[in-house]
């Protein structure tokens, strides 16, 4: 299929429709409004349902309801709106329901800034709601990757009956680039979801969707989560590795920051500096395998580049490297964007031992 220039939010929305998403509920907030706007006209075209909820909380609970019927369902918001949805995300996790949640993140904390930022790493990876659970967290870096990961996210969500989060910042939401879109899936051809409300085959009792359980059941569900998360760590962690073989310095960055960082890494390589890069594609599970390859005898320092202050991914890097390699960080926040010169100069300073 030929490539077309699309806006990030719209590309992600179209990818969701093609993945079989037939229900979307959301509430407006900058910079993700183009997702609900697109869905409001696109979903009716394919027999789907779009609802602008009266609030974020109502919207995530509508997604809960739609998902309970076996319908592929999605919501999107931006940072403060995601905070409001966290109760519902926890209920989805508790009820073992699949859903895709897109966070087109902006500056924070608080109402923060409408400009792009990567300030929601900790929320997405550590506590996307109360109760001690995780979602898969995908962090695309280009629009093509955003399209591909959103398309796959629905399959992952259904496979493990859990919410999956796409964490992309406001830059990726509003940027336009060429993408090729994946094939349209027909929900009528999906395997029947035997866990869904309304499934009545095989003389089994009607399933009841709930997120409150007798103690024994709840603990067993939580024990099953331990196994699921271990499997994710082993099988589903993804990262892009660049020029690591002889690297004395390793830049770590995800999403939009990774693109700015990659440009800097290539420029510094051209100057003869032995520098490489790890770009986590899944933030949860964190791609520890890529860090296990680093030899602390060779790597002098890790440089964590994020579009937020203070750095948030640093803790996961420290865990993944058993604190064996010094970590420096550089970021911008408050609606100030990372830029090529700023990132390159910051890395040069660290490499030169000035920082």
């Amino acid at each position: 299929m030929s490539k077309q220039l699309m806006k990030g939010c719209e590309a992600v929305a179209e990818a969701a429709v093609r993945a079989g998403c037939r229900f979307f509920a959301g509430y407006p907030i900058t910079p993700q409004n183009e997702i609900p706007e697109y869905m409001s006209s696109r979903l009716p075209e394919v027999g789907g349902t779009f609802v602008q909820g009266e609030s974020e909380i109502a919207s995530i609970n509508m997604v809960y309801g739609a998902s309970a019927t076996g319908t592929r369902a999605m919501t999107s918001s931006s940072s403060p709106g995601i905070s409001l949805k966290t109760e519902g995300i926890s209920y989805l996790a508790g009820a073992l329901l699949p859903a895709v949640i897109v966070n087109v993140s902006r500056g924070g904390p608080g109402l923060g800034s409408i400009q792009p930022a990567q300030s929601d790493y900790l929320q997405a990876t550590k506590a996307p709601g109360h109760g001690g659970f995780h979602t898969l967290v995908f962090a695309p870096s280009t629009l093509q990757e955003a399209v591909d990961l959103t398309y796959e996210a629905f399959d992952y969500a259904e496979r493990d009956r859990c919410p999956v989060m796409i964490l992309m910042d406001g830059c990726l939401g509003s940027i336009m680039e060429s993408v090729s879109l994946p094939a349209m899936k027909d929900p009528a051809e999906f395997e029947e979801t035997k866990w869904a409300v309304g499934y009545n085959g095989q003389s089994r009792p009607t399933r009841i969707i709930t997120s409150i359980y007798p103690e024994l059941v709840l603990e067993n569900n939580n024990k099953a989560r331990v196994e699921t998360y271990a499997r994710w760590a082993k099988e589903d962690a993804k990262a892009e590795e660049l020029l690591l073989d002889d690297a004395q310095y390793v830049v770590v960055a995800y999403g939009i920051a990774a693109r700015v960082a990659k440009q800097a890494v290539l420029a510094l390589r051209a100057k003869g500096i032995k520098i490489g890069m790890i770009r986590p594609i899944t933030l949860y599970p964190f791609p520890k395998q890529s860090f296990a390859k680093l030899n602390s005898a060779n790597v002098k320092a890790i440089i964590d580049i994020e579009m937020t202050i203070p750095a948030q991914m640093e803790e996961d890097i420290a865990l993944a490297t058993h604190c064996a390699i010094p970590i420096h960080s550089y970021g911008r926040s408050g609606g100030n964007l990372l830029d090529d010169d700023g990132v390159r100069q910051a890395i040069e300073k660290i490499v030169g031992g000035e920082a």
Partner: protein
């Protein structure tokens, strides 16, 4: 070849729409393109800026620190974004709205009364078109035919005089750009 362009002005001056049309044209010409908008919460009147990168190779970072060309549609945007224009860069000014002198010696400056041109051809709303015309006339960043085709497709559902008006506005700007190139 890689060209980094910033188009800036106030909301309502067509900064975003002309940037998108340029990026779409570049994709049609089988180049790589990124369009990155930045604006405040205002619907009209606030500052509007977009960065368009067009390149023969894949674009890694869409967040450059400096641009090769700055189009300034008004005084406020010139002041705000002049610092982002690289030394030796090209500054294209809408002289209908920018009256104060530019205090940098290291630039090539192309000046055209875009509002007046737009009004003359029939609509004050299309001052963005002569500005991009001057850019393409001066830089060869893209074949002007491809751009005009994209512009024409965009207005396909509108009366033919709209297309004619836009083409005329484009040609006037393009001529200014070409003349500047001849004198360079």
């Amino acid at each position: 070849m890689k060209n980094i362009l910033i188009i800036s002005g106030s909301g309502g001056q067509g900064v975003m729409s002309i940037g998108i049309t340029f990026a779409q044209s570049a994709v049609k010409a089988e180049k790589f393109a990124t369009f990155m908008p930045l604006y405040g919460p205002e619907q009209r009147g606030g500052s509007a800026k977009c960065t368009v990168i067009v390149s023969d190779e894949e674009i890694i970072s869409p967040l450059p620190s400096k641009c090769d060309t700055l189009i300034a549609m008004n005084e406020q945007s010139l002041k705000k974004f002049l610092g982002e224009l690289a030394p030796g860069g090209t500054l294209i000014i809408n002289s209908s709205r920018v009256t104060s002198p530019v205090n940098r010696e290291d630039l090539r400056i192309i000046s055209l009364p875009a509002d007046d041109i737009a009004l003359k051809v029939g609509s004050a709303k299309i001052a963005n078109v002569p500005m991009i015309g001057a850019f393409l006339g001066y830089t060869n960043a893209l074949d002007s035919e491809i751009f005009l085709n994209t512009l024409t497709e965009k207005f396909a559902s509108k009366p033919p005089q709209i297309i004619e008006m836009n083409q005329q506005a484009f040609q006037e700007g393009f001529a200014v750009g070409q003349a500047a190139k001849a004198n360079a």
